[in-house]
């Protein structure tokens, strides 16, 4: 058996509703700052949920990442967020953006999304239906193809290894990281830019609003709207953004002499097959528990080594079930349960971007020795309180050295992903 390569994280990039860039985001999550705001467009369109999490990107910032030509007829927020996060992560890893004749054969990207350029798609559809197909111009395909984000990043960075986009609903970001991790482990790449992005706006969120899975009770109190693990949780708040991580073979990182944020010990992705309790929209708990247990086995750790869990925890009725699944998979409960938190309390549910934004938040906690608070759960869910001790859910910033974090994401289609990060 060939010894698997060790894989570490050397770069991070984040475009989140409560902070764009690592410094702003780190401060925001330490302080429990909400990025959820009233959204006038959702109100105009008579959505049930009229609040959302959208990153703020100025025109000036855009121009640091895109040329004037690229911004001509550009209308894809997902690609915008993904490119900013991705290029930031690349620079954060101490890597240059070179314009060589040959691409960098050792570096690739797996950068996920749910859909791409949905506003651009809408524009194109209106033109096509108006017999104006010939007037679409050249920009529709690159912005609306699923792999648009990885294609943009691959071109900007000159990546010569695998350049692709994965898509597995709300598991997408965690899955992209694990796919890149395995590629490096197998020796097929030295370095992978992994992460995920999600468009913002009514056309991406409308379907969820129609399913009544978003909260409609906080249109006048946006910052209180996203309430994971709260007794008064009433559905998720739609969000958007992008998270990006440069992951790298340990030897390569050491040879470059760069900062190592943390090590990826292992992980697992699986599916409940929409069998047992699983459906298109509900998780099969057996599969969720198996995913977590298999991730620990892959990482070769015991559940007692887990200090903190960064949960999926969306603020729907499923939060208690998720906690129950963690207690069973870890065989730990009550006061013996690890700390657990939910980034969604501050930024809402970033859908395909959620997993990668939460991975970035997890790594920041390991590297900077803190646990960020979960806001809006002052009235803890009663069922959750019977499973784990209340003090396991920090509602204030905690300064603490953390050795191991487990991060999980679950998505429509009954898909699961769990990754184990360790301090390096």
């Amino acid at each position: 058996m060939i010894l698997k390569k060790r894989v570490v994280i050397t770069g991070l990039g984040i475009v989140a509703p409560n902070g764009v860039g690592l410094d702003a985001f780190t401060n925001a999550i330490k302080n429990g700052n909400s990025g959820i705001k009233h959204n006038p467009e959702l109100e105009r369109l008579q959505f049930s949920c009229q609040i959302a999490g959208t990153p703020l990107i100025s025109e000036e910032v855009k121009r640091n990442y895109f040329s004037e030509l690229e911004l001509r007829n550009f209308n894809s927020t997902g690609i915008l967020y993904g490119v900013i996060a991705g290029l930031d992560a690349w620079k954060d890893a101490g890597l240059d953006i070179e314009n060589n004749e040959n691409p960098d054969w050792n570096s690739g990207t797996i950068f996920g999304t749910g859909t791409s350029g949905i506003e651009k798609f809408r524009e194109a559809i209106y033109k096509i239906d108006d017999f104006q197909t010939r007037r679409l111009g050249s920009t529709v395909v690159a912005q609306t193809m699923g792999s648009g984000i990885s294609a943009y990043l691959g071109g900007k960075l000159g990546l010569g290894n695998q350049v692709t986009t994965n898509s597995s609903a709300c598991t997408t970001g965690t899955e992209s990281l694990l796919m890149g991790f395995e590629r490096i482990q197998q020796g097929k790449a030295k370095r992978m830019l992994v992460g995920s992005t999600s468009d913002s706006g009514p056309y991406i969120w409308g379907g969820f609003d129609a399913m009544r899975v978003c909260t409609f009770k906080h249109n006048k109190s946006p910052e209180k709207g996203s309430r994971p693990m709260s007794e008064t949780a009433s559905g998720f708040v739609p969000g958007s953004g992008a998270g990006a991580l440069v992951i790298e073979e340990l030897e390569s990182a050491l040879a470059r002499g760069v900062r190592i944020y943390a090590e990826i010990l292992g992980g697992n992705v699986n599916s409940g097959g929409q069998r047992g309790g699983g459906t298109m929209t509900s998780p099969n708990s057996v599969a969720v528990q198996k995913c977590i247990m298999d991730a620990m086995a892959d990482a070769n750790i015991n559940s007692t080594e887990i200090d903190v869990i960064n949960g999926h925890l969306t603020a729907t009725s499923k939060d208690a079930l998720e906690i129950e699944n963690w207690t069973k998979a870890l065989n730990r409960k009550g006061t013996n349960f690890p700390y657990i938190n939910s980034l969604k309390s501050m930024i809402g549910h970033g859908l395909s971007a959620s997993g990668s934004m939460e991975c970035v938040a997890s790594i920041l906690q390991i590297y900077n020795d803190f646990i960020f608070p979960t806001i809006n759960c002052e009235d803890l869910n009663k069922e959750i309180k019977t499973l784990i001790s209340s003090d396991r859910i920090p509602q204030q910033f905690i300064k603490k050295s953390i050795n191991v974090i487990a991060k999980a994401s679950f998505g429509f289609g009954d898909v699961n992903g769990c990754v184990i990060f360790k301090k390096f």
Binding site: E68, R135, G137, S138
Partner: protein, 84 residues
């Protein structure tokens, strides 16, 4: 519209897509969009759309295929203007 007038009107349309500024500064009617100005071939359709708008003409697919250099482009624009 004479050749010079058309070239003056073409320049700002082509400018955003140009990757070789030296060739653009020394533009002649033999200048080729792709080989001289290094314009991405996918962008030629964008240039044609902008020309249609600026000159208020419509350029059919057959004509568009020939619009690879300044000389042909001028000829096609003149033909279309005359047809108006």
């Amino acid at each position: 519209m004479n050749k010079e007038e058309i070239i003056e009107k073409l320049k700002p349309i082509v400018a955003p897509f140009v990757k070789n500024e030296v060739a653009f500064a020394n533009l002649t009617d033999k200048t080729d969009f792709i080989t001289d100005l290094n314009i991405n071939s996918a962008n030629l359709v964008d240039i044609v759309l902008d020309i249609e708008e600026a000159f208020e003409i419509e350029i059919d697919n057959e004509s568009m295929e020939k619009m690879l250099n300044i000389e042909n482009t001028i000829a096609i624009i003149q033909t279309k203007l005359e047809e108006k």
